[in-house]
């Protein structure tokens, strides 16, 4: 359990210093501990069944008290795993504003309780030899399999899929927490009914809370599909600066001193070169290097989706994408070696762009606006060679 609680790559997609994202990432680590909790719960149930103490004679303690005395170690180990996982993500989130997300921790606590008790309850129902394997495989499949299944929203029901789609501008959607919580609560109730009730007819009513919970939870998660996050409240953004307003999330506030001057410097150079700039710049990373800032600024200036017309017609502008991007990056003050590294065509494109950079400023502007406009439409041909511009539009 400990081993799995500290998977090294589990946290790659968590933005740094963002506690909410980091805490959400421990949910996926819970798959193995939860399975083991269920299996050990079943093992304990089989143990007490085989002892033959329960069905004969008068019980001095209620079934719940007996279960509690048997399961508290398992339960404690499960909770310990949650804490170990939290300690492992803490190093990525340390230094950010706020603290661990208590909602996620509460959900995991509920899951640990539910799976321990559910395993124990199933242990009373099945043939005793087969209980542990059936419980372990069923719990594992339910916790792990839905991520590779359709429909996509199915994965939101088991509570171990809070790690997708994270970025600074995303926050947990409450529905992604409530729905698995409901399913877990239904399962917990069903487990309690099975443990307390003796008659099989009464045990059948255990189906009821599970059915109700699923019926309520499914319509809740259907609009979520694969993504448990939603757009974050933009009022926490702090924006400042000119000619581009640099907007930073509270988690990035430590890097303000780096982002603002670098962006300003690059933006002024680009503006002088006649490039139309976006109004705001919201970086999605922290701990920037100068190259990262220039690169992300440039890719924000380039159009993002492929033009719709390219699905039906030839799109001559495609070949202009790389030179335009390279020219923008060099103009913004990017390092020439880094830029040349991005393409391995023997430096042909780089030398073309270097030739363009030797043109007078107005010709460069003309070159840029001509070729930039071919990126969003299919009826224009890019004019990349410098000979077209020399002495042309002075």
């Amino acid at each position: 359990m400990w081993f799995y609680a500290r998977q090294p790559d589990a946290l790659v997609s968590a933005p740094e210093r963002y506690w909410e994202a980091a805490t959400a990432h421990i949910a996926v680590v819970g798959i193995v501990p939860l399975t083991l909790c269920a299996a050990t719960g079943a093992w304990e149930a089989v143990r007490i069944r085989r002892s033959g103490l329960v069905d004969r004679g008068a019980a001095a303690r209620s079934p719940l008290v007996v279960a509690l005395s048997q399961l508290r170690t398992v339960w404690g180990a499960g909770l310990l795993c949650v804490l170990v996982a939290l300690a492992c993500v803490a190093e990525r989130a340390m230094g950010g504003p706020g603290g661990p997300d208590l909602r996620v921790l509460a959900l995991l606590g509920l899951l640990v309780t539910t799976y321990t008790l559910a395993g124990y309850a199933v242990g009373w129902l099945l043939p005793w030899m087969l209980t542990v394997p059936v419980v372990a495989v069923a719990a594992f499949l339910w916790l792990s399999y839905p991520v590779s299944m359709e429909p996509l929203w199915l994965r939101q029901l088991n509570g171990t899929n809070l790690n997708e789609g994270w970025a600074y501008e995303r926050t947990l959607d409450a529905r992604a927490l409530i729905a698995p919580g409901l399913v877990a609560a239904g399962l917990l109730l069903a487990a309690l009914i099975v443990m307390v009730a003796r008659a099989h007819v009464v045990r059948l009513t255990a189906m009821l809370p599970v059915t109700v919970a699923i019926a309520v939870a499914v319509p809740m998660v259907m609009p979520l599909e694969y993504d448990p996050t939603k757009a974050r409240d933009t009022s926490t953004l702090s924006c400042a600066g000119a000619p581009i307003r640099v907007c930073l999330w509270p988690e990035q506030s430590q890097d303000t001193e780096k982002f603002r001057p670098w962006v300003e410097n690059a933006a002024v150079r680009l503006k002088e070169a006649g490039v139309k700039l976006p109004k705001t710049y919201t970086p999605t990373f922290s701990d920037p290097t100068r190259a990262d800032v220039v690169m992300s600024l440039v890719s924000g200036i380039l159009p993002d989706p492929v033009p719709v017309c390219s699905e039906r017609h030839a799109w001559p502008g495609e070949e202009a994408y790389a030179p335009v991007a390279m020219w923008l990056e060099l103009t913004a003050g990017g390092n020439a070696e880094d830029v040349a590294d991005r393409i391995d065509d023997g430096g042909k494109m780089m030398s073309l762009v270097q030739d363009v950079r030797k043109l007078p400023a107005t010709d460069q502007t003309q070159w840029y606006s001509n070729n930039r406009s071919t990126l969003t439409r299919c009826d224009l041909k890019p004019q990349l060679t410098t000979t077209t511009y020399k002495g042309g539009t002075r």
């Binding site: 081993f3 790659v12 792990s144 590779s148 994270w166 970025a167 990373f285 920037p288 890719s299 495609e318």
Partner: protein, 201 residues
């Protein structure tokens, strides 16, 4: 003989074999993501390699609930019959591999699980061996490299769910799709940390 078959739950075993063959033939590509301790977050455990647990567990269950005392003095050669009963499913799966893709591997895994469980049974108790053998396929995939480790969009995960819009997208996906094939390099350097993002133009 009828009792012997009933104790060994022969009808359920036949049903389990049908399920194994059905899974291997109908959903050969299905993979269960298993948390991995080596490198990547998850590895894919092909579902058809997991289902052979079903007949193996049934065989062990049948063997465990047999009454050893009367069987040891039976007229019929119970030990030999048991040995045949255990090898028969593997033989059936091997025969089925004639028309099931990758059927030999499924039969191999069945034999492997069964063999490991029988060794464990000899070393410990029947109940413990059944419980431990369940974790074998998961442990193997989890400690090893993983079949689906190189799939796009994360191993074993549904790639359909990948976000396409510019916000929060992995920086390479949007730009790389764009570039001429000869120049397909990631414009953004270091996919794990950096990413582009600007507000509305």
């Amino acid at each position: 003989m009828i009792w012997w078959l009933r104790v060994r739950c022969a009808p359920a075993l036949i049903g389990a074999l049908v399920v194994v063959v059905g899974v291997a033939a109908l959903v050969p590509k299905s993979e269960v993501p298993v948390p991995s301790v080596a490198g990547s977050l998850t590895s894919g455990l092909p579902f058809r390699y997991l289902v052979p647990l079903l007949p193996v567990l049934l065989i062990l269950y049948g063997r465990a609930r047999a009454d050893d005392a009367p069987e040891s003095v039976a007229v019929r050669p119970v030990r030999w019959l048991d040995a045949c009963f255990m090898t028969a499913p593997v033989a059936v799966l091997l025969l089925a591999s004639a028309f099931v893709p990758d059927g030999v591997a499924v039969a191999r895994n069945t034999a492997g699980y069964l063999g490991c469980a029988l060794v464990l049974r000899w070393l410990s108790t029947p109940r413990l061996s059944i419980a431990l053998i369940t974790f074998l396929p998961f442990a193997v995939v989890s400690l090893g490299g993983g079949v689906g480790a190189n799939q796009p969009g994360g191993p074993g995960r549904c790639t359909k769910g990948q976000r396409r819009s510019p916000e929060g997208a992995p920086p390479c996906s949007s730009v790389r799709d764009w570039w001429p094939p000869s120049a397909r390099r990631c414009w953004a350097r270091g996919a794990e940390q950096t990413s582009s993002g600007t507000g509305p133009e």
